[in-house]
C-alpha cells in the first residue's frame, strides 16, 4: 500500500518532463486531434462526475413548487435557503423534529474521540511492532491484517454481547471503542510501515542516551512523524464520519450519528416528501468529508491509498 502512496505523492511533479529534453517528442499543437479527443473526453467525464453534486446543490436551493414544475438540472429561479434551515433544525425523524443538528453533534461527539483513541492506540502499536518487536508480536499483527478482510457482519453480534456485558451497548463510548477496534488494522499497518522506514540510528542513539519506550515514542517518533499522523487523521475523520453500519447497530435513536439520521429523514415513509430539504440534509452530511477532501488534497490520496483495504 505504501508504495502506492509514495508513487502518488510524486504524481504531479514533472520528473518525466526532465527526461524528455531536446530529444523528446516534437511539440504538439494545442488543438491537435489528439488533444481535442483527450480533453474532450476528460471534460465530459468530469461533468458526469460533477453532475450529482450540482443537482444536489441546485435542488436544495429551490422551493417545492419549483421542483414539482421544473427539471432537476435547471438552476433555481428563486434562491431560497429555507430548506437548509429546515434540514438543520426542523426535519423529522420519527417523533423528533429537531433536525439534523442533533445527528451532527452526535457525529462530532463520536468522531473526535474515536479519531484520537484509534490513532493513539494504532501509533503505539506500530511503534512497538517496528522498534520493540517481542516474541509473537508479528503473529498478532498478521491476525490483525487478516481480520481487516473479515466482513463486519461476522463480528457485529459478538461485539454487541461484549459491549452489553461491560454496560456500554447503545452508548457513544461503546461506538468509540468499536471504531477504534476496526480502525486498528489499517492504521497499525500505516504506522508500522512508517516507523520501520525511519533510520534505525535515531532509535539506537536515543537508547544509548537512556530513553525508554515511552520517552522515545513521545520525544522522537511522535514529532518526526507528523505527516503520517495527518494522513491517519484524514483517513479516520472521513471513515468514521461516513460510517453507517456501526452507528445503526451500536447506538440508540437519540445518539444516532448523522448518516443514520439522514437516512431516516430522507427514507421516512410518513408525510409529504420534501426533496429540497432532503438534498440540503444530504449536502450537510457530506460537507465535513468534502471539506476535509478539498483542504487536504494530496494527503487524502495518500490516506485512501493506504486505507483502501478498509473498503
Amino acid at each position: 500500500m505504501s508504495d502506492h502512496a509514495v508513487a502518488l505523492s510524486a504524481t504531479s511533479s514533472n520528473w518525466r518532463d526532465d527526461a524528455a529534453g531536446p530529444s523528446g517528442p516534437k511539440p504538439r499543437h494545442m488543438f491537435s486531434r489528439r488533444n481535442i479527443f483527450l480533453y474532450g473526453t476528460l471534460v465530459v467525464v468530469a461533468l458526469y462526475y460533477l453532475l450529482p453534486l450540482y443537482v444536489m446543490v441546485v435542488t436544495s436551493l429551490k422551493g417545492m413548487p419549483e421542483i414539482r414544475l421544473g427539471n432537476i438540472f435547471s438552476p433555481p429561479l428563486e434562491i431560497t435557503f429555507e430548506p437548509w434551515v429546515k434540514a438543520w433544525s426542523q426535519a423529522c425523524t420519527g417523533l423528533n423534529c429537531d433536525g439534523l443538528s442533533r445527528g451532527f453533534w452526535n457525529s462530532v461527539r463520536i468522531t473526535v474521540p474515536s479519531v484520537i483513541l484509534s490513532i493513539a492506540i494504532a501509533s503505539v502499536n506500530g511503534y512497538a511492532l517496528a522498534n520493540w518487536r517481542f516474541k509473537g508480536a508479528d503473529t498478532f499483527f498478521v491476525i490483525l491484517i487478516v481480520g481487516a478482510f473479515i466482513p463486519y457482519q461476522v463480528m457485529i453480534y459478538p461485539i454487541v454481547i461484549i459491549l452489553r456485558e461491560i454496560g456500554l451497548y447503545g452508548s457513544l463510548t461503546g461506538l468509540v471503542i468499536v471504531h477504534s477496534i476496526f480502525g486498528m488494522p489499517i492504521l497499525t499497518l500505516l504506522f508500522r510501515n512508517y516507523f520501520t522506514s525511519m533510520p534505525e540510528e535515531l532509535f539506537r542513539a536515543a537508547r544509548v542516551d537512556g530513553a525508554g519506550f515511552w520517552g522515545i515514542y513521545l520525544r522522537i517518533m511522535l514529532p518526526m512523524s507528523l505527516p503520517i499522523f495527518v494522513v491517519a487523521i484524514i483517513l479516520q475523520v472521513t471513515g468514521i464520519w461516513n460510517d453507517f453500519l456501526f452507528g445503526v447497530v451500536y447506538t440508540r435513536p437519540d445518539t444516532y450519528p448523522m448518516t443514520v439520521q439522514l437516512n431516516n429523514i430522507v427514507n421516512s415513509v410518513q408525510g409529504v416528501k420534501e426533496y429540497n430539504v432532503n438534498m440540503a440534509a444530504t449536502i450537510l452530511t457530506g460537507l465535513v468529508p468534502l471539506i476535509v477532501y478539498f483542504i487536504s488534497g494530496k494527503l487524502f490520496v495518500r490516506g485512501i491509498a493506504a486505507g483502501a483495504v478498509k473498503g
Binding site: 500500500m1 508504495d3 502506492h4 508513487a7 510524486a10 504524481t11 504531479s12 518532463d17 517528442p25 480533453y39 476528460l42 467525464v45 468530469a46 458526469y48 462526475y49 460533477l50 450529482p52 443537482v55 432537476i72 492506540i121 503505539v124 502499536n125 512497538a128 520493540w132 518487536r133 517481542f134 508479528d138 498478532f140 491476525i143 490483525l144 487478516v146 481480520g147 473479515i150 466482513p151 457482519q153 461476522v154 463480528m155 457485529i156 459478538p158 461484549i162 477504534s180 477496534i181 486498528m184 525508554g212 519506550f213 461516513n242 453507517f244 453500519l245 437516512n263 426533496y275 432532503n278 438534498m279 444530504t282 468534502l290 477532501y293 487524502f300 491509498a305 483502501a308 483495504v309 473498503g311
Partner: protein, 297 residues
C-alpha cells in the same frame, strides 16, 4: 525506567507488551474469538438470544431455501461483476488519459476522486433523487418531448441492481483510477521510449506491455474491489431499502435484518458465515501468493 542499570530484555519488552494489549485483545478476542463465536452459533437454532442448542446444518439448509437469500446472492454476483469489470476498465482508462502529460491533471483528478470522500448513504440518496422517475433523468427527458423514454431502474425489480451499480461506480471509480495512475507512474519511462522507437502503436503498448507489467497493481486493486463488493450494505439501504419488494436485497442486509429485526440470530449467523466463506475464497489465494514466499509479512 527505575532499573535502568540493568537494561534487560525482559523489561524492554514488558513496556511494548503492555502497549500492545489493545492490539492483542482486538486480534484475539474480537477477530479470532468473535469470528469463531459466530461460526459456532451458526450451527444452533438461536432465535432472540444466542443459545447453544446445536441443530447441525439446519440454518444453512434453511438459508439456501430462502428466496430472499437467493436473490441477495444473485444481486451480489451481478453487482460484483459490474463493479469489477467497469471500475477496472473505467479506472484504467481514466488513469491512462491522465497519464498523457496533460494540463490541469490535479483538477481532473480532484473531480474524479471527490465522490469517494462521500459516504454510501449520501451517494445512495443523491442517485435516488437523480433516478427519481418523475423528477429525475427520466422526467427531464420526457419533458423535452421524448415521452416514451424509459429509464427507471430503481422501481423496476428486474434492473434495480444496475441502478445501484451506477451509483457505486460513480462513488468508487476515482479510487481505482488513483491506484492505476500510481501503477502507471511506476513504469519506467524507457519502456515507453523503446516502444516508440520500435513504432508500436500506443494502444498496443498499453495492452501488451504496460498492463502485463502492472500485474501486481491489478491484483491489489482486484482484492480491494472484491472485499468492498461483499460489504455492500449502506448504499442499498439508502438508495432502495432493498426494494422494490426484495428485488435489491444483498447478503449484508440479510444478516443485519435477521439479527436485529427478525430476531432470528441463527439465520443471521449462518448468512454471515457464508459471507466470511466467500471473502476467504478471494483472500486466501491472494495472501498465499503475496506473502506465502516470504518469511515475515
Amino acid at each position: 525506567m527505575s532499573k535502568s542499570e540493568r537494561p534487560s530484555q525482559l523489561f524492554r519488552n514488558l513496556n511494548a507488551k503492555v502497549a500492545s494489549i489493545p492490539m492483542i485483545l482486538t486480534a484475539m478476542v474480537v477477530f479470532v474469538g468473535g469470528t469463531a463465536w459466530t461460526v459456532l452459533y451458526s450451527f444452533t437454532n438461536s432465535k432472540l438470544l444466542p443459545r447453544l442448542n446445536f441443530v447441525g446444518l439446519d440454518q444453512y439448509y434453511r438459508l439456501w431455501a430462502t428466496p430472499r437469500w437467493l436473490i441477495s446472492i444473485e444481486n451480489l454476483l451481478i453487482y460484483g461483476v459490474i463493479s469489477l469489470v467497469f471500475s477496472l476498465v473505467i479506472g484504467f482508462l481514466l488513469a491512462a488519459l491522465l497519464d498523457q502529460k496533460i494540463r490541469f491533471e490535479d483538477t481532473f483528478r480532484t473531480i474524479f476522486l471527490y465522490p469517494f470522500a462521500l459516504s454510501f448513504i449520501v451517494t445512495g440518496l443523491v442517485w435516488q433523487w437523480l433516478l427519481n422517475p418523475d423528477f429525475g433523468v427520466q422526467g427531464v427527458v420526457r419533458s423535452l418531448g421524448w415521452t416514451s423514454f424509459d429509464f427507471n431502474p430503481l422501481y423496476n425489480s428486474s434492473i434495480v441492481i444496475y441502478g445501484i451499480s451506477i451509483a457505486a461506480l460513480w462513488q468508487g471509480t476515482g479510487l481505482i483510477m488513483c491506484l492505476m495512475l500510481a501503477g502507471l507512474r511506476g513504469i519506467d519511462e524507457d519502456i515507453w521510449k523503446a516502444a516508440r522507437v520500435d513504432g508500436i502503436p500506443m494502444w498496443k503498448t498499453y495492452l501488451f506491455i504496460i498492463i502485463p507489467m502492472m500485474r501486481p497493481v491489478f491484483i491489489t486493486t482486484l482484492v480491494i474491489i472484491a472485499s468492498g463488493i461483499v460489504k455492500v450494505y449502506d448504499l442499498v439501504v439508502a438508495q432502495t431499502s432493498g426494494g422494490p419488494g426484495i428485488a435489491s436485497e444483498v447478503p449484508a442486509k440479510y444478516v443485519y435484518d435477521y439479527m436485529f429485526f427478525a430476531q432470528n440470530l441463527g439465520q443471521g449467523f449462518a448468512a454471515s458465515t457464508m459471507m466470511l466463506l466467500s471473502v476467504m475464497i478471494v483472500i486466501v489465494p491472494w495472501a498465499y501468493l503475496e506473502f506465502g514466499g516470504r518469511k515475515r509479512v
